[in-house]
Amino acid sequence: MAYELNGATIEADEEGYITDLSVWNQDLAKLIAEDENIDMNDEHWEVVNFLRDYYEEYQIAPAVRVLIKAVKKSMGKDKGNNKYLYTLFPYGPAKQACKIAGLPKPTGCV
């Protein structure tokens, strides 16, 4: 599949993960989020930005279990828990937030 943004075509795989990580920007993130029925607010952005930082540092998109632990470490236990993250991203915080963040599908997700 592909996304259409400001007249440009952005390639993505069959599940909607963009294939060229370098073309990501915030407008594209909003467009991907729309497809996922997510209206991006500050809390969504916080997780998306956290994932981008995590990828930048470790070159890996974490699986949900690891994401929750890492968020807990960085933002505290009010945010680093299943309920909070699944409320933001109902179809899986790692899967959906990684897609919006322009990262590959998390390693360890099937």
């Binding site: 470790y58 699986a63 690891v66 390693t107 360890g108 997700c109």
Partner: protein, 143 residues
């Protein structure tokens, strides 16, 4: 998603992933790392061993820009998040390649049982000690 609740986990076995090849000339090192990360979701007792040219996988300051492949070496530093905290590196293999512990990346984990204190994941062992580690495993996967 591979989000398996703890109560659903069964028998815990000791898995050792043996890495013996240089990181970027073949696919073995990356494949091994990906299997380790995926396997970590199953909450087994996982260790990694690095010997022969496999010790090069942990060398710090790797730069793959000129060979057109992804530099996945930073990912070893995320292993602690996956609760993979035992990385055995064979001393003889390092010495034979003119390497020392200072040439390797610093890989840390937080010890849940010790007030989350940061501890090094890399453990230098000699050939005899590594043989003992291998003898104590249930499953050994060689890459």
């Amino acid at each position: 998603m591979s989000d398996i609740p703890e109560e659903a986990s069964g028998i815990v076995k000791k898995f050792l992933y043996v890495n013996r090849k240089a990181p970027h000339g073949t696919i073995y090192a990356l494949e091994s790392l990906e299997v380790v990360l995926i396997g970590a979701a199953f909450e087994q007792d996982v260790s990694l061993a690095f010997l022969d040219d496999g010790v090069f996988q942990l060398v710090k300051g790797q730069d793959t820009a000129d060979i057109g492949v992804k530099n996945f070496s930073p990912t070893y530093r995320a292993l602690g998040d996956f609760e993979v905290t035992k990385l055995y590196v064979e001393k003889e293999s390092l010495a034979e390649r003119g390497l020392s512990k200072d040439d390797l990346m610093e890989i840390m984990y937080e010890d849940e049982d010790d007030d989350w204190e940061e501890k090094p994941s890399i453990k230098l062992v000699n050939r005899t000690e590594l043989a003992a580690v291998m003898a104590g495993q249930d499953v050994i996967l060689s890459f």
